[in-house]
């Protein structure tokens, strides 16, 4: 795995891992994450909850930079969870770095609560997620695409 791809530009990890992240000590950062999966998952999930998941553009009228920053933060939190799982597999299961992914376990659930590596629903039961997703349905093709054939 090319460690240069392990970077979070828009989210600072909590605790010791965050210090190593700022110092650019990627391998040590992954070791710290991998040795302490549960603790870091919990903290990252809290950060995602506080942030409100993916931003709603309507709340950023005329402020693309602000919207982009909020988007980038959300995406980076999900990347952090992915790195956390990779690090755990490396340190605790002896898998080579980068040879594992998310193992098919979603990063978020349908309410955009961060999912832990075992997909244990009880670990996120106390979190609210994004309430705006309650009535969500997949967007239809815009009329401009004219898929009527």
């Amino acid at each position: 795995m090319d460690l240069s791809s392990v970077k979070l530009d828009h989210y600072r990890l909590p605790g010791r891992a965050g210090e190593l992240q700022v110092a650019g000590a990627v391998q040590q950062m992954l070791a710290e994450l991998g040795d302490n999966y549960a603790s870091y998952h919990h903290q990252i999930a809290d950060d995602f909850e506080r942030h409100g998941g993916f931003p709603d553009a309507r709340e950023f009228e005329g402020d693309f930079d602000g919207y982009a920053a909020a988007m980038d933060y959300a995406v980076d939190v999900l990347r952090a969870e992915r790195f956390l799982r990779i690090a755990h597999a490396w340190r605790r299961e002896g898998m080579p770095l980068g040879k594992t992914g998310t193992a098919g376990v979603p990063l978020v659930d349908e309410r955009h609560r961060l999912v832990d590596r075992t997909n244990d629903a009880s670990k996120r039961a106390s979190r609210r997620g994004n309430p705006k997703l309650a009535g969500w349905s997949p967007p239809a093709p815009p009329r401009i695409m004219d898929l009527g054939g």
Binding site: A57, A68, G104, L133, P141, P142, I144, M145, D146
Partner: protein, 405 residues
């Protein structure tokens, strides 16, 4: 059963003078507009490809977060204007003919997007055709990145309002509208990358992660600027795994790549219409022996993955086939012309019966002596002494593509 399958033609050649551009010069426009579109089958879409590296080969004179300066750059830079004017012309001609345009961003990126990168992918360095730096996916595809400003600009330039492009002859400083669009050209779909599982540096970078982030970034861009077209991607090449002689990964199998991307997008809930795009050369090749035997092995695997991964919250598994075709050998073999007919007829019929499929794609129209990928509908033509192209005769597939119902 889908009754809405549409035909798409691909125009990857990047100049109005190229035989495979959407132009009347070599008969392509007439064929598509007058023969196919007005025929018995729903031909509606044209795929036009433009790589970022052509438009902006040099590092930008603005910060990655400065959208206004990025728009200003694209509206005034000479190199950018050459390509954008070409794109204006091609898209506007299709618009005028009632053909929808899928704008695809090609697989070549400016070198400055990947600073400190080797000139070629190290794993491929000793190969006959090493992968150049231009095929390396950008390291940063966040909403604050240079890549997102390029995407934002293109989207804003070509987004439609009531089936009209946004006319803006002045450009950057016109009444708060920062995007120039002198021909009011507009697109119906935006395909943000091309065949990353084949072209990108798969031995070095986790391409599936970049592509998943691209999906989210493009959705966010449309979310902010106002959605007026669909988002499709990632145009997977339907290849198997391939490795260099040193054992390192070259291409990633389409099914593994699809699953890897979708793993990261489970429960994503995009704000806009987002659909998967895929290329089905392999399925077409397997369909060559009869006009009725297409099995769609590969595309159905993609459909299963889309359903399983629940990436859009259930239900919708729209698959846009944005490239496909039957490649003829580089020597004349009569039976191959029949096989091409069979592949087109058979695949078209099978896709019509596969409810997840949205489109059927034909790559290309003209076979050319300068490009040995001969999957077009005309025989190989020739260039005269004035460099004027003379298309070859229509192959039997010419009428198959036009008339298949």
């Amino acid at each position: 059963v889908s009754a809405n399958l549409v035909k798409m033609m691909n125009y990857p050649k990047l100049s109005p003078d190229e035989p495979n551009s959407y132009s009347g010069r070599y008969g392509a426009r007439e064929y598509l507009r007058d023969t196919v579109q007005s025929g018995p089958t729903p031909f509606k879409w044209l795929r036009i490809t433009l790589p970022w590296s052509f438009v902006q080969p040099n590092p930008p004179p603005y910060a990655p977060t400065d959208a206004g300066a990025a728009f200003d750059f694209y509206n005034t830079d000479g190199q950018a204007q050459v390509w954008l004017n070409w794109l204006d012309e091609a898209i506007a001609e299709a618009n005028a003919d009632g053909i929808f345009v899928n704008l695809c961003l090609g697989q070549y990126y400016p070198g400055w997007v990947t600073p400190n990168s080797p000139a070629v992918e190290p794993a491929s360095a000793s190969q006959p055709r090493p992968k150049p730096r231009s095929q390396r996916l950008p390291g940063d595809v966040s909403a604050s990145s240079y890549w997102s400003k390029w995407v934002t600009y293109l989207y804003n330039r070509y987004h439609a309002v009531n089936y009209q492009g946004v006319y803006n002859p002045v450009g950057p400083r016109a009444a708060g509208q920062w995007w120039g669009n002198p021909r009011s050209a507009w697109i119906g779909a935006f395909e943000f990358c091309n065949e990353p599982n084949l072209y990108s540096w798969n031995a070095t970078d986790p391409a599936h992660c970049v592509i998943a982030n691209m999906f989210q970034a493009v959705d966010g861009i449309l979310n902010f600027w106002g959605a007026a077209c669909g988002v499709i991607g990632p145009a997977t090449a339907d290849i198997g795994n391939s490795y260099y002689a040193n054992g390192q990964q070259n291409g990633v199998a389409y099914d593994a790549f699809t699953n890897n991307v979708l793993d990261l997008l489970q429960n994503w809930r995009p704000s806009n219409y987002v659909a998967w795009s895929h290329h089905n050369y392999g399925d077409m090749r397997e369909s060559r022996d009869s006009p009725d035997t297409a099995t769609l092995t590969r595309i159905k695997k993609v459909g299963t993955a889309l359903g399983t991964k629940n990436w859009r919250g259930g239900g919708d598994r729209n698959i846009w086939v944005t490239e496909g075709g039957y490649r003829l050998p580089d020597v004349f073999v009569p039976i191959e012309e029949t096989r091409q007919v069979n592949a087109i007829a058979s695949t078209w019929k099978a896709l019509k019966g596969y409810s997840n499929a949205v489109s059927f794609a034909q790559y290309l129209l003209h076979n050319e002596p300068r490009d040995d990928y001969w999957s077009g509908l005309t025989d190989v033509g020739f260039y005269d002494i004035a460099n004027e192209y003379h298309p070859g005769a229509h192959l039997p597939s010419w009428t198959t593509f036009a008339n298949r119902t």
